[in-house]
Symmetry: C2
Subunit: 330 residues, 2 copies
């Protein structure tokens, strides 16, 4: 059992539906010396869980990290079927229709929930979880291993909308809205959790100049990210009025790493709407009483990030463009 990863780096399990912004989050974690990515589980969302695993393996291969286990997780959600994803946002292959070189290996033989459980035991108490897709695998792991929260250091979840509008309904964000029951299981598990909602992810962006910087990076992985942004930027034109993109998943990664901190993130009661009504999938955050400043509600274990200490974009681009691991493909 190791309390931290190699070289004192904090071990992280990433759960993702890779995805363009998932790819950026993954690369950011690989580029961050503070943490060690010790395992990845995939889930359906932006693409199928199987496609997400393929993308993840290929991205890791470009980074020279064929050592990181990648396990396929849930194809379907706890109370619903995967609907085919969002090719109009992330491209048909999930990575902006960029053709990545195929990794020479297959996914782990375990499923994502079992990989998470094994890693939690292996790193006994030191493992942090970062989720950037529906949290189906986490709910499954909690069902299989009720003692899981006691083995986990922290959970950072990209998802939900506190006071901002949703993105798949008026009030629901995609990760939570795809599997509200799984989100409820995660938020009710009794561990320290940080929810990273649309309220902040939509306010942090990458722009054309950032894309150009990524396309000029020394490593093939980061140049591939730059190439993926082409289709992703198009999607956001109606929202922002210009080519750019929100930083959903990379923000959860950066907050988990600790290089971007919350200026305002009160611990409040959060209930996921699991009805079949018009609010299904909403993360109902009780933000009454926050007018005079952030107030933690007694007993609340989940912090909802409402404001950062600095913009994420510049930090993200700097870290990615400096990424130059010896084993990475040039």
């Amino acid at each position: 059992m190791s309390l931290v990863g190699s070289g004192g780096r904090r071990p992280i399990y990433l759960d993702c539906d890779t995805g363009i912004d998932d790819s950026i989050a993954l690369a950011y974690l690989l580029a961050s010396p503070e943490v060690e990515l010790v395992g990845i589980g995939t889930v359906s969302g932006n693409v199928s869980a199987a496609r997400a695993a393929r993308n993840t393996l290929d991205l890791l291969h470009l980074a020279g990290r064929d050592d990181v286990p990648v396990a396929i997780g849930a194809q379907d959600f706890l109370a619903g079927s995967f609907d085919g994803g969002v090719p109009w946002i992330h491209g048909h292959n999930g990575v902006g229709d960029v053709m990545l070189p195929a990794a020479p290996r297959e996914p782990d033989r375990r499923d994502a929930a079992d990989l998470l459980r094994d890693l939690a035991h292996e790193h006994g108490g030191a493992l942090s979880i970062v989720t950037v897709g529906p949290t189906t695998n986490i709910a499954t792991a909690l069902a299989r291993e009720p003692g899981l929260p006691g083995l986990i250091r922290s959970v950072t979840t990209m998802g939900g909308a506190a006071l901002a509008p949703g993105n798949i309904s008026a009030v629901a964000e995609a990760n939570i809205g795809n599997d509200p029951e799984a989100a409820a299981a995660l938020l009710d598990a009794g561990w320290d959790c940080t929810l990273v909602p649309l309220d902040v992810t939509l306010e942090n962006r990458l722009f054309e100049r950032d894309c150009a910087a990524l396309l000029d990076a020394p490593t093939a992985l980061v140049r591939a990210l730059g190439a993926m942004l082409d289709i992703y930027f198009d999607y956001y034109v109606p929202l922002y009025g210009e080519r750019s993109c929100a930083l959903h998943d990379p923000m959860a990664a950066a907050i988990a790493v600790g290089e971007v901190r919350s200026r305002r993130a009160p611990a409040v009661e959060i209930v996921v709407d699991t009805t079949r009504g018009p609010g299904r999938g909403q993360t109902i955050c009780d933000l009454r009483g926050q007018r005079l400043g952030p107030v933690d509600q007694p007993g609340a274990r989940t912090r909802v990030v409402l404001e950062l200490d600095r913009p994420l974009g510049p930090h993200l681009v700097e870290r990615l463009t400096r990424f130059d691991a010896p084993e990475a493909v040039r």
Copy 2:
């Protein structure tokens, strides 16, 4: 049949649960030369419907307006019972425990829904409805008279929360949350409606200097409003950090009169959560796609007020302190 009230003033039916801010809204309407208050229905909410009628009669008497019919409406809500109101906000009698001189008359023999229906026919197409309590009476009138929307010029409703937190739950505002089914009936009726939610009413306040101005007014009615504010100001100290009060109901009155206008009030799809889940009573306003500026959604008939053209407080105080009808009690 008269298309407008006497002297060309637009006829208004007010539905209220009188209440301190209801009292201010009522006085504002009486003080507004643009409109004529032709009838009032009461509903349970801040106090019982019967108590609200008593308060309303007494307030009208102070204004020398014993001619305005006041009809008692729903004691209970469409799908729930009145729970006794909020004496810790509005005082035990609903008007801040201020003892008003008793009016020498009784409520109308009709109930509120019948009064509304009769007035709608009488003013054929010219009547505007202002609601500042639960909308139970309006739902009842719609059920009794399905043609009602064709007889009504416009509806202005104080209630709901769009992007702001709720006040009786994390997402529900009191008027809508007390009777979500009635709010759904009102919003689905197919008439032109303006929803005045907490997003704006909490941002407009009265302060100590305003209270002092009301206490110094020439009419007993307005001085009584000033006296009511004492207990009301106390209630808001934890929210605002100082003695002051939100302007919920007066804002709906001022918008209906037209003297305060919306700077940002897009017509959007609004669905009331009528489930028994955690979002019950939420006014789910679809505010996606509003980032680049207000956009009306095709087919939407309800405008949600998100920003005013000027602060309400100064206008309200000016109009109230100038109120000096010859028939009013000094």
